[in-house]
Structures are given as structure tokens and as C-alpha cells.
Amino acid sequence: MATQSQDMVGKGKQGLLSRYAPGGFYCELFEACKDDAEAANELVRRLNAFSTEDLAERALAAERELMLLGVTFTVYSQRNRIDRTLPFDVIPRVLAGAEWERLARGVIQRVTAINLFIADIYGAQRVLADGILPKELVLGNENYRPVMRDITVPHGSYVVINGTDLVRGGDGQFRVLEDNCRTPSGVSYVVENRHLMQRAFPDLVQDLAIRPVSDYGQRLSKALSELAPSGVSNPRVVLLSPGTYNSAYFEHVFLAREAGITLVEGQDLVVEDDRVFARTIDGLQEVHVIYRRIDDAFLDPEVFREDSMLGVPGLVRAMAKGRVTLANAIGTGVADDKAVYAYMPRIIRYYLDEDPIIENVQTYVCGEKEGLAYTLDHLSELVVKPVGESGGYGIVIGPHASKEELDEMRDKLKAEPHKFIAQPMIELSVAPTLVDGEVGPRHVDLRPFVITGRDSWVLPGGLSRVALRKGSLVVNSSQGGGSKDTWVLD
């Protein structure tokens, strides 16, 4: 695999990548160099001009800068708040322009279908009547919100901000691993990583045709304004954050700043006469669109959790009356449920009459008889995931699991099969990564972000997460994952 590129890489005997070998996995960088792709090959040449020490030195300086900038997430130990930077790998992950175009079309297709699906399940429920997926899976889903029944949203955009997790297997095909339709995070790292690369590695970035990511904020702002309740010509848009103690607060700051919208907390908002107002130094001012980074459950103590201190009493009433738009809408969590995911190819065909541009990973729904039987028979080959969890928690990777772990999983599957899905293990693609003074292959995924106002737009590239532990397939930041700058090269 990739012999041509490896020859080329070998030419720089002392170069950074001279001792790098992808170990039989699909290497994102080498494959991007194929077909004499000019920009990617130029990048490899420039990388090879570095020694590992040079690179490590600059990486350390970059890490320090992230700390001072406060591009951090917060970890709580028993008594202290600790600010951590998301580990950042300075060797960019590369995507060829033409390949990216296809991915971009694929994620937009998916978001389009998801929005039609959500409008349907809270409206006519044709998809259920036609038996495309089990009624119970939707209506009995813990993220299905009856309060949304018969409520429509501007431009049918329920999932205004979407993140789709893609992985590439040994065959070189991208597949969708997971949808994130509630409050997907990570986009701030995409933009900040790029800025950091431009500052710390001007010699690497210079004159390469890298598609820009810096207009994310303007795109977001435009889409949010388009979603204002009808009749509001100059909408006031805010971002509702749980506050400075939230681990993603930096991202909220970033988004508010980049989009030029006000960052509010629940205590800043008040509902009067079914209208939402912000408390300003000049008294109350009406708010029309809320990009909320708070889960449904905490949004409005009148409707959801009564003990929520983060939300705004009456917010759902105001939304239902059409006085304020919430982005994302309430109840989008059904669409990124791991069991509903299995039906997504059918959902795309049902609403769009098109084949999915990006396939799903083969998925066995353990709540279905055949799915469960197959999973139990092939447990040691499969990855089993609990449907309600996120962040990579509760996953059992069959080929890596001990006998005890497998037995435990088998018992859980038999007891509560509907709580799990199973997928074949994917040999995630790798990218050269600097870890402990050495450049080696590490597994990566990709999360492109789609913004949907009147139309949909995809941020070129997206978040590349990288599993920094050797051999690990788990890229989540809570479990030793880091990130890379993602370059769509033309």
C-alpha cells in the first residue's frame, strides 16, 4: 500500500517521516499524496525538512500558547478546577479536495434527511405509519419530546448545527459512525487549531491551497438570523451557555465572539408574556433566537427537570408560541440515537429517494431478534455500544476484550438487548502523529460540521480527533484523544 508515496518519503533520509510506517493501516497522509497530488506532496516535503526535535520544540511552544489563550476544557478533580488543553498534534491531517466534495455532499444529504425525519415524527408520522422503523424506537425513545408535537420550525431546520462522525476503514471508504444532532461540540478547536498552525508553522502553511475555516462564525450568525420567528426583521441572537463552570465554556466564548452574538446564562434571561428577554443594563430586551448549549433536560424547569438552575422558566412556552427560535430545536436527540442510526440509510432513501452518499457502518440492532442472535454469536469480533451513552463510555471492543469482559457483556445483552447495538470492528485509518518525541501512526476520525439555516453549509474539513495512545481506537477527548488541524487541499 502506498509504495509510491513511501519511496518519496524515504528520500529525506534524516527527514521527519523517514522512519514513519503506517503499520498496515490506511494512512491519510500517504494516500492523499497519490496521483501526484501536488499540495500534499509539497506538505510532505516541508514536513521532512523538520527534525523531530524541531517539531517537538515548536509543538511545545504551541501547547503553551493554547494554555495562555485559554483554549481549554475544564476537568474537575475533588477540590480543584483544572484547565487542560485538548492535546494538539501539529502534523496536519490532509483531505483531497475532490474527496472532500463528496463527503460534504454526503453530510448535507444526511442532515437534510434528518431534518425531514424530525419534522415528520413530530408531525404526520408518515415514516412510522409506513413502517420504515419501529414506532416504539421513536415514540418510546427517551429523547422523544412530546412537547414538540405539531410544532414547526423556520425553514424546517431542527438540527441547525450538526456534527457527523466519520471513520475510514482499511478499504479507504469513509463511513458514518455516529450522528450528533443535539449540541455537537468541537468546532472551536477546528478554527483555533488552524490559527495556531498559521502562527506556529508559517513555513508549513505558506502558499498551500488550504480551504479556509475562519468564516464559521459569520456562517453561523447568518443561519441563526435566518431562523428568527417570522416578522422579526432585525433579530437579537444569543448563545445560552451553562456558564463558566461548564467544561466547554471556552467553545461557547469562541462561538459568541466569532458569531458576534451575546453569550448569556440562564440567569440573564426571563420570560414574560411568552416572550424571552435579556436583562441588560438598560432593563429587559427581547431575544429572538437562542443558540443553546444546554441539554433539553435542563432548558426549562417548567417542562423538564424542575431542579435545573441552568435553564429559563417559560422558555418552552415562548418557543411553542413561535416567539423565539431554539437552535437546535428541542427533541432532536431521537435522530442521533444509536439504534435509530441503524435505520438512517432507509430514512435517507425514504425522504430523498436517493442512496446514501456515505454509508453507515454495518450495524446490528440488538433490540431486533436477528441482530441479537448475530451479536451473541460473534461477540469477540464486534464492537458493542450502549445506545444511550456518548463520549465513548461503556463500549466493549470484542477483539480487545478479556473473557470476563465478554461474558459480562453477554449477560447485559441478554438482560437488556434493546440498550445495545453492535458493529464490526473498523480498522480506523491512521495519520502520522508526534507522540513522546517520535512520529508514529495514530488512529483518527473526522467530524464535519454542517450549519443549516435557509440552506445547508459545511465547514471545509472538520475536527480530526486522534487517539494518542498507541493502538487505541478511542479518539474521545475524555479518553486520551487529541486533535489535529484538518486541511482540505486543492
Binding site: 494554555m67 465572539r257 440573564d268 441588560t280
Partner: protein, 323 residues
């Protein structure tokens, strides 16, 4: 675009206060060190606790009043909400909240300052190293103020910063005077003696006002002239009057330029405070007692803060904008 959130106004007001307080504390500790070279050193360290009405809090945590313990308490003690470390931690917390509306440079500098304070150990706050630490604190505070001037957008936000900063400055100047006054009176240092003159010099230096004072009063300092200077000089940035003028101007400009009808009571209060300061003479002050004047000034400042808070910040009962 929404107007400035009441919560942001409050955060920026306090950020201004907290940095100013850290700055003033570094100055007070340095001047105290200068006083403490005389024979009554031990007494001075106790005064430093009374200055901020923290004697009880201190004694509940520390055994005896030693220079080391007092310095640690004021500089690095995280459990003391008024220590320099705590002030800067709170200022940084406020800056974190304000990040969407302040410059990256403003945040980075304060974050870096906070981190360098975190790195300090008790030995960095001992008398021998005090001067170095005080200089580091002052320089960081002044850099912060410079970045505020250079980069903070001059909308409502800026005026709230200035009001916080100047109210704190006014308060701290009265405390500096109080300290001198209390060390001076009962100790029986003869007025005009070498010790006395050097203490007044130290006081002026603590306020970075020695040169300014020399321009206004070419003769040797007397208690009256230094007090007059620190209380009533309209041009010296750290004088009480100058700070009160700045607060009043900021509030007036805020209301005028941003068409705010609330805050009228606060303005009225500041006007009367201002004119009372104008009318006062140092003779009246010494007659009434310096203590009483200082108490009065501090009460006026507290009231100004309360009225500003009532008009503009989130008030659980009524929300902002009540008058």
C-alpha cells in the same frame, strides 16, 4: 445586538476593582515594610490586619503576628478572599466570563498573571523578597490597565471598568492615609522629625506620588500638605478627589452616550460627594478627626457602589433599572 448584559456590567466593574485592589495591596505592603524598619515594627504588622478589618480572620488561621505570616496572608493565602492571589483569581474568573467582549490580549495577560501567582511559594512572600514580588504585582496590574486602555472597546463596558477601578482606588487611598495616621499618632513620633518625614515620603512613594507631590508642594512634606495632596489634589490620579471625579465622569458619560435613564440616584449621590470634597479644608478634617473623615469617605464610596449596583446590575428582586 443586545445591550450590555447586566451580569457583564457587574463582572467588568469587579474586574476593575479586583486588579486595583491587588495593586493597592502590593503598595500598602511595601510602604509598611518601609515603616517597619523603625523600632515599632511589630505593631505595624498588626496595623496591617486592622487596615482591612481582618484581625480576627487572621488570628483564626495563624498563631502569631509575624511578618512572614502577615505577608503570606495578604499576598498568597487562597483562603483569604482579599489576598492578592484571591483578587487576581477573581479578576481572572470575571475576565473568563467577559471573554466574548474583551480582547484576547486582555485575557491572556490576566491569565498569565494568575498563573505566575499560582507558581509562587510562601518563601516568595517573605520580607526579604517582598520588594521583588510587590514590583511584579504592580507591573502586572499596570500592564493590565494599559491593555484595558489600549484594547477595551469604549462602549458601556469601558465605563463600568473605570467606575470599579476608581471606586477601589479612592477607597484604597483612604486606607493608606488611615494607616499612616494610626502609626503616626500614638507612637509619639515627633512631627517633622527625620523618622516622620521619611514616613511621609514612603507614603507618597507607595502611591507613586512623590514626584507629583514635589511639583505641587515644593517644600518639605508636612502631614497637612501630604493629606491635602492625597485627599484633594484634582490632578493626582490616586487622590481621593481625582478618583471620585473619574467615577462621576464615567457614570455621566455612560448615561449620556448610551441614553440610559437609570443611574440618576447614583449620579446625584456622587455629585454631592464631589462637592463635599471640594468644600472641605484640611483644617476641618484635623478638627473633626482624620479617622472620621476617612470613615465618612468610605461610607460614601460604599453607597455609590450600592446605587450603581441597584441601577445596573442583576437585582434578584427587581432586575436592573429601578430608578
Amino acid at each position: 445586538m443586545t445591550r450590555l448584559l447586566a451580569r457583564f456590567a457587574e463582572c467588568v466593574f469587579w474586574m476593575g476593582r479586583q486588579v486595583e485592589r491587588a495593586n493597592a495591596l502590593a503598595r500598602v505592603l511595601e510602604v509598611n515594610q518601609a515603616y517597619s524598619y523603625d523600632t515599632r515594627g511589630g505593631r505595624n504588622w498588626r496595623m496591617l490586619l486592622r487596615l482591612y478589618e481582618q484581625d480576627e480572620e487572621f488570628l483564626s488561621k495563624h498563631g502569631g503576628v509575624t511578618p512572614e505570616a502577615v505577608l503570606f496572608f495578604h499576598l498568597l493565602d487562597e483562603t483569604n478572599a482579599s489576598s492578592v492571589r484571591s483578587c487576581i483569581a477573581q479578576a481572572r474568573e470575571n475576565a473568563r466570563t467577559l471573554r466574548p467582549i474583551i480582547s484576547t490580549e486582555l485575557w491572556m495577560q490576566l491569565n498569565g498573571f494568575y498563573r505566575s501567582l499560582l507558581d509562587l511559594t510562601p518563601v516568595d512572600a517573605t520580607p526579604r523578597r517582598l520588594s521583588r514580588l510587590a514590583t511584579m504585582i504592580k507591573e502586572n496590574c499596570q500592564t493590565h490597565v494599559g491593555i484595558v486602555r489600549e484594547t477595551l472597546y469604549r462602549d458601556e463596558t469601558y465605563y463600568f471598568y473605570v467606575m470599579g477601578q476608581e471606586i477601589e482606588r479612592a477607597d484604597q487611598t483612604t486606607r493608606l492615609l488611615w494607616m499612616k495616621y494610626h502609626q503616626f499618632l500614638p507612637m509619639g513620633v515627633e512631627e517633622g522629625s527625620a523618622v516622620d518625614v521619611s514616613q511621609w515620603h514612603a507614603l507618597l512613594r507607595a502611591a507613586a506620588g512623590f514626584q507629583a507631590y514635589s511639583r505641587a508642594h515644593p517644600a518639605n512634606p508636612t502631614p497637612e500638605s501630604v493629606m491635602t495632596f492625597l485627599l484633594y489634589n484634582p490632578h493626582f490620579p490616586r487622590s481621593l478627589l481625582c478618583a471620585v471625579n473619574e467615577v462621576t465622569d464615567a457614570l455621566s458619560a455612560l448615561r449620556r452616550e448610551h441614553y440610559l435613564s437609570n443611574g440618576a440616584l447614583a449620579v446625584k449621590h456622587l455629585w454631592s460627594f464631589q462637592s463635599a470634597l471640594h468644600d472641605q479644608t484640611i483644617e476641618e478634617v484635623t478638627q473633626k478627626g482624620v479617622d472620621e473623615t476617612i470613615d465618612w469617605a468610605q461610607r460614601e464610596l460604599v453607597k455609590a457602589t450600592d446605587l450603581i449596583a441597584l441601577s445596573f446590575f442583576i437585582n434578584p428582586a427587581t432586575g436592573p433599572g429601578v430608578d
